[in-house]
Structure formats: C-alpha cells, structure tokens
C-alpha cells in the first residue's frame, strides 16, 4: 500500500494557482527530497497532504484513508518550516516534546508516566535532554529545532514530513541532524519526505528526487534524475552546478561528470 497517494491535485490562493495537476505516490521506505524554488508550492503541497489546507480539487489519501477522514495521526511526524509559538508561552522543552503524544490519547487527553518515559527517551535520542527543563522560547534556534524534531518522532511514525528542517542549524549540527533522519529511514523503516533548498547535503541520504514548480517537473530515483531532460530543461545552465553539488554515486551523464 502506498503511504501517500495524490491524484489530480490543484490549489489556488484566491485566483493565483499554486499547484496544478499533481499526481504521485509515495511508497513505504522512500526517502524523498522535495525541491523547488521559492513559491513553487512545496509547503502548500505538504499542508494539503496533512490536511492543514483543505483540498478543493483532486484527491489525497494517506495510508489508504482519504485525508478528510484520516485519523491515524500518531503514525505521522511533522516538522514545519517555521514555528513561531507565542513568545511568552511557558512550555519547557520537555512539555513541548510531550505534546507529540496528544495524537495517541483519548479523552480526557491527560499525559501519564508512559508519555513522560517516551518523552525522556526521544529527547535522549535527539540530544536535547540537557535542556529539557528550560523554557522553549529561551532556547536557541538550533535547540528549538531539535526539540521539534523530537516531538515529530516521539511516536515512531511511519511517515515523517520535514519542511526545511536545517535552516536554523549550524554546519556541524546539520550533519548529525541528517544522520539521525537517515537512521530513522534505514534502521526504523520510516518514510521521509524532506523539503529543502540544501541539495548539497541531502544527495547522499535520499533515494528519490521530487522537483516541483507548480507542476511536477520530476519525480523519480537519483539515477533517472541525472538523465532526465526535464531536469536539464528546468535548471538550464545551472544543471551542471546542481549535479556537481549532489553527493551521490554512479556516473552522471551531464558533461561526462562522475559522481564520487
């Protein structure tokens, strides 16, 4: 069964079309890099998939359920592009991570010892235990990002969606951040959909490229990506530059370049 199925999806803000005729499927175990320039519709697509925005045209199914009826939210982890909680919100890092357990609770949604234990474990896994009692709004951007990642993966989700997760991280933190994501994909079998502008860093982790510019320009594996005339047309003179910056393996047909 496909984890995500999108058919003939279109979306517009007022009268400006943002997405047109989007059809694709995501299989379990994929690690997909979703790329596109600013305004290409990446975040809109993710928000439609997650039901944050309502679809007006087209169909979306998650894990076989229509998004309108979807109820297995604990199987999805989402780390959004920018999270700007109220600046005085008195939640500690621990309390923020534990909020990820809301999707596993019935009514009343009150946390128990198991939720606290899970929170402790995932914070250790994402290296943010040392500041668990600090207020979230007092943490640095990178520390906040780790806390939000911990919240996204606290339920061992089958599908993890990350929207430009590395923007607040310094160079050394980015490496360990992507290693952790890669482990979730390889060891835990999580399917990852990652929006990024950082082509240079994701090439060695992902197995599929998704290039979006209102329409799907390309969706397929890395080797096909290198041979795709659509990709060459889309990126034009920058194609070689992009290929040079992708750390992947195997021969690349563009300009006789070879991958490492």
């Amino acid at each position: 069964m496909n984890l995500i199925e999108v058919k003939n999806l279109a979306f517009a803000y007022n009268s400006s079309p943002v997405l047109e005729d989007i059809t694709f499927a995501v299989k379990p175990g994929d690690f997909i890099g979703l790329l596109g320039h600013n305004g290409s519709g990446k975040t809109t697509l993710i928000q439609l998939i997650l039901g944050i925005l309502k679809t007006k045209e087209g169909k979306i199914k998650i894990m076989g359920q229509k998004i309108e009826k979807f109820n297995q939210w604990s199987k999805i982890g989402y780390l959004q592009q920018k999270s700007a909680p109220p600046s005085l919100m008195p939640l500690t890092a621990f309390e923020v991570v534990r909020l990820g357990r809301v999707s596993t609770k019935g009514l009343p949604r009150i946390f128990n010892k198991i939720d606290n234990k899970k929170t402790q474990e995932v914070m250790a896994k994402t290296n943010c235990l040392e500041y668990k009692n600090k207020l979230f709004y007092e943490l640095s951007g990178g520390q906040q990002q780790r806390v939000l990642l911990a919240r996204a993966i606290i339920n061992n989700p089958a599908l993890i969606i990350l929207d430009e997760p590395s923007t607040a991280l310094d160079a050394s933190s980015r490496g360990s951040f992507f290693d952790l994501i890669s482990n979730l994909n390889k060891k835990d079998g999580a399917t990852i959909l990652l929006i990024t502008h950082d082509m240079a860093e994701i090439g060695k982790y992902i197995n599929k490229f998704f290039i979006l510019d209102k329409k799907i320009i390309f969706y397929g594996d890395k080797q096909t990506f290198c041979k795709s005339p659509e990709v060459a047309n889309h990126f034009g003179p920058y194609t070689q530059h992009i290929m040079d910056h992708l750390h992947t393996t195997g021969p690349c047909p563009f300009g006789g370049h070879s991958w490492e």
Partner: protein, 275 residues
C-alpha cells in the same frame, strides 16, 4: 473580621473566588492565543443582553448568556470565513454590542440602577440564584478545559502542529469562544462590563512574568486572581469603594510586583547561574 459575619459577604467571596479561578484559567489560554480582547468585545455585547433582560423584565444574566454566546460564534465565523482580521472582528462585534445596548436601554426608559450595577459590577449584591449559576458555569467550564487541556495547549502553541496531532482545531476553537462567552457573563457581576476583560487579562499576564512551566503559570494566575477578588471585596467593604474597580486595582498592583520581581530577582538569578 466583622465583615465576615455578613451572609452577603460570604456569598460575594464564594462567587468571586469561583469566578476568579475560571477567569484566570481561561484568561491564560486567551492571552497566549492573543485573544485577550475577546473579553472586552463580549462584555460590550453583554450590555445588549443585560439591557434586553431589563426591558423584558427577565433575569439579565440569563438573557445575556445566549446573546453573548451567539456573538462569540459570530466573531469566530467572521474571522474564519471572511477577509477580516480577528482584532477588526472584535471591534465590529464590540461596537455592535454597545450600539444595540444603548438603543435597548433608551427604549427601556434610559439607564437605571440595575444597568449601572452591571456596568460597574456589584459583587456584594450577588443573589443565591446567581451564586448557584456562577458555580455551575464555573465547574462546567473548568471540566471542559480539563478534558481538552492538552488540545488547548497544542492549539495555543502551534495550530498547524495541533492539526497534524489529530486535534479537531475548529471544535476546540468553538469550545474556547463559547466558554469565553459564558465566563464573561458570569464575571459581569464581579467587576462589571467595563472591567471584565481586565479580570481575564491581568492575573494571567502577572503569572506569565514568573512562570517556569505551564502548570506553574496556571496555579499562579488562579492565586493572583483569588487574592485580587478577596482583597478587592474587603477594600470595597472597608472603605466603601466600588468592588469591581478595587479588584482590578489589586490585580494591577500584583502585576507590577511580578514585573519587578522578573526584572530584578530573575535577572540576578541568571547572572549568578552564568557565573
């Protein structure tokens, strides 16, 4: 302690303490969700309900509750389905409430003592029926907040995240505005239409100055709110001052102290920690 020997004082203290707790708890969510001024708008709408009650010779509180609840849903629908910012919607509803209230009051023969008691609060004249109503609505509101406690926190923290955590954001927002409407109406008797929003805002803002986690913020907001009500009632009784204004002045005094503690004591603690 002579003032505790009167039954009406005990009624005022019990009703005031209950309302202090529910306004503090609800107010904390509203302040953090940047909906502080919903109390102001809804209290102005309550003026219409109260005036309508007085015009029709019905209990003003019982008429105000459905009128204010309907208006709170109106604010929610306006911001959700039209291109109107929340503060604009609050302004529109607020102005409509005052305008309608003034017209109804004029039809009823102008302002009378009863209407003034709702404008400025008169906790010392709370009846047994109003005390029971305050207790029922307070306990009901607190029970609903308890059941959806973490949904509310998730929505206030980040509404997009809340959606992907399976929280029915529309339902929770609807519950939040309906509880706000009920709480605003029952708080009218304590501080009056003119000051009800201060009761929702000041104790939570004072608590946020000193909070180190969410639970602490809730507890502090309740404690400050109760201190404000009890001290205000005492000041009102002892010095023949308006009860609503006395309560809010005590609340503001607590806020100033909390802000000073935050500025000096917390700063000193941080400096010590960093050394």
């Amino acid at each position: 302690m002579e003032f505790l020997s009167f039954a009406f004082v005990w009624r005022a203290l019990i009703a005031g303490a209950l309302i202090a707790i529910v306004t503090a708890v609800l107010g904390l969510f509203l302040v953090l969700k940047r909906l502080s001024l919903i109390g102001d708008s809804l209290s102005h709408v309550a003026l219409s309900g109260v005036a309508l009650g007085l015009l029709t010779n019905t209990s003003p509180i019982f008429v105000a509750i459905p009128v204010v609840m309907a208006s709170s849903l109106g604010i929610f629908k306006i911001t959700k389905h039209t291109k109107v910012y929340t503060d604009s919607a609050l302004g529109i509803v607020s102005a409509t409430g005052i305008a309608a209230g003034l017209i109804i009051a004029a039809l009823a023969g102008g302002f009378n003592i009863d209407l003034f008691s709702f404008l400025f609060g008169s906790i010392l004249t709370v009846s047994w029926a109003e005390l029971v109503l305050a207790a029922v609505l307070t306990l009901l509101s607190l029970a609903i907040i308890y059941v959806f406690y973490n949904d509310l926190i998730a929505i206030v923290f980040d509404e997009n995240f809340a959606t992907t955590a399976g929280v029915n954001t529309e339902r929770i927002n609807t519950i939040l505005v309906l509880i706000s409407a009920a709480v605003v109406v029952i708080a009218l008797r304590v501080v009056g239409i003119m000051l009800v929003s201060a009761m929702l805002i000041v104790p939570p803002v004072a608590a946020l100055q000193l909070a180190v986690n969410f639970k602490r913020a809730l507890i502090l907001a309740c404690v400050f709110s109760i201190i404000g009500v009890v001290s205000g009632i005492y000041l009102s009784f002892a010095f023949n001052l308006p009860s609503g204004a006395s309560i809010i002045i005590v609340d503001l005094f607590i806020l100033v102290i909390c802000a000073l503690i935050k500025k000096y004591a917390f700063k000193k603690r941080k400096l010590t920690a960093s050394n």
